[in-house]
Amino acid sequence: MNMNRSGSAAVPCEPALVYEILSDYGNYAQWLPGLKTSQLLAHESNFAIAELEFHAQPGQKMAIECIHAPNQMVVARTLEGNEPHLKIEWNISPADGGRSQVKVKVETPLNLAFLTSKFRSALDPGRMLAALTGVAAGYGEGPAGDKVIEIVETEDGLICWYRGTKYQMKATS
C-alpha cells in the first residue's frame, strides 16, 4: 500500500531552468533534502539511471530510473521490485511574470517503518519545493543591494566578484 502526498509552488524562474535543475540528477544531493550523495549512471534522450544515497539509509545506494519531458515533467522512481518504493513526479508549467508553477507528487510506502523513518521528512513535498525555489534563486540576480561577495560557477570555471572587482578562481588541489 502506498501513500501519496503533493504540493505546488510558484518558482521565480522560467520552466526551462526548473527543468534543467530537476533533470540534473547527478546534482540532486546539492539541494534535495535528505540526500547524502547522488550520481548519474547513464543517460539517453528522455531516460536516465541514477543512484541516490539518503541520510535515512547511509551506505545504501538506491538505483532510480528517471523519465523526463523537456520543460514539462520529470519523474524519478526506484527500480521496480526494489524497496523502498519511491516515486517523485514533478510537473512544470509556465506562470505569470516569467515564473513557473511546479507541482510535485510523492509516492512512498504506507507502513510504520517508513512513516517513522527519516525518509518521511526528507520527502516532504513542501520541503522539496522550498529547496527547489532556493536552488533556482542561485541562477538569478539576487536581492537588491550592494553585493559584498559573489562566487559564480560559469562555463569558464569559478568567478568571484568582490566589492565590484572580478577575480578568476583557480583550483590548487
Binding site: 531552468l17 534543467e20 547527478g26 546539492q30 539541494w31 548519474l40 549512471l41 547513464a42 543517460h43 539517453e44 539511471i49 543512484e51 538505483a63 530510473e65 527500480l79 521496480e80 521490485g81 526494489n82 529547496a131 532556493g134 536552488v135 534563486a137 542561485g138 541562477y139 538569478g140 539576487g142 536581492p143 537588491a144 543591494g145 550592494d146 553585493k147 559584498v148 561577495i149 559573489e150 562566487i151 559564480v152 560557477e153 560559469t154 562555463e155 569559478l158 568567478i159
Partner: protein, 188 residues
C-alpha cells in the same frame, strides 16, 4: 517484474557480445548448468537453458537482439514455469567508464510460489548475475588484444550551461543577506 542495474567496466560491444554468446552462459551465469542454441537467424535466437538454483528448471527461450543496445527474451517452452521474460538494456556509463546494464526479469512460477517470494529471489539472482557479468567481462576485456579495444571516451566533466551562484553576500536595507546552498540567511 524486478529490475536491477549493474555498472560494468567494459565497452558496450564486449558486454553485448557476452550476453549474446548463449553457449558460454554456463561459464558465468550463476546457476546455469547448460545452454544449448537451438536456432539462430538474424537478430533472433532460440535456446534451451537449464538453471539450477533453488530448483532445477529447463526453459526454452527466444532472444531478440538490437546490436549493442537491447536484448529481450521470452519463454517459448517450459514444463517448470508459467512465464519467464525480460531484457538487458545497455547504456554508456555517464562517467565514460564502461556500460550500465539495466536488467528486467519477470517470472511466474505458478500458484505454489507467492509473488513476493519469487520477486525477492529474482532480485538476489539479478544482483548475483550483475556481479558475475562484471567479473566475466573484465576477464573478456583482458583477453581482447589492445588493438581491438576501443577506448571509452574520457569522462567529460559537465560544464554548467548557465552561470550558477555558489555563494552570495549582499548588503541590503535590512542588513547582510547570505545566500548559500539554496538557502538564504539574514544577518541583522
Amino acid at each position: 517484474m524486478v529490475k536491477s542495474v549493474a555498472q560494468i567496466d567494459s565497452d558496450r560491444s564486449i558486454v553485448f557480445a557476452i550476453l549474446t554468446d548463449f553457449a558460454s552462459y554456463p561459464q558465468w551465469v550463476p546457476g546455469c548448468e547448460s545452454c544449448v542454441v537451438k536456432s539462430a537467424a538474424g537478430k533472433t535466437s532460440t535456446v534451451e537453458i537449464t538453471l539450477n538454483s533453488m530448483k532445477k528448471i529447463v526453459l526454452g527461450l527466444k532472444f531478440d537482439a538490437e546490436a549493442d543496445q537491447l536484448l529481450k527474451f521470452e519463454l517459448v517452452s517450459s514444463k517448470d514455469v508459467k512465464a519467464y521474460a525480460g531484457s538487458y538494456k545497455l547504456m554508456n556509463a555517464s562517467d565514460g567508464n564502461g556500460t550500465v546494464v539495466v536488467t528486467e526479469l519477470e517470472l511466474d512460477a505458478g500458484p505454489m510460489a507467492p509473488k513476493f517470494m519469487v520477486d525477492r529471489m529474482l532480485k538476489k539472482t539479478l544482483e548475483e548475475t550483475g556481479v558475475a557479468l562484471r567479473k566475466y567481462s573484465k576477464e573478456a576485456s583482458a583477453r581482447k588484444p589492445a588493438s581491438e579495444t576501443v577506448a571509452a571516451p574520457a569522462a567529460a566533466k559537465k560544464k554548467p550551461t548557465r552561470s550558477r551562484c555558489v555563494l552570495r553576500i549582499t548588503r541590503t536595507a535590512n542588513g547582510e543577506q547570505i545566500w548559500y546552498g539554496g538557502r538564504t540567511f539574514q544577518l541583522k
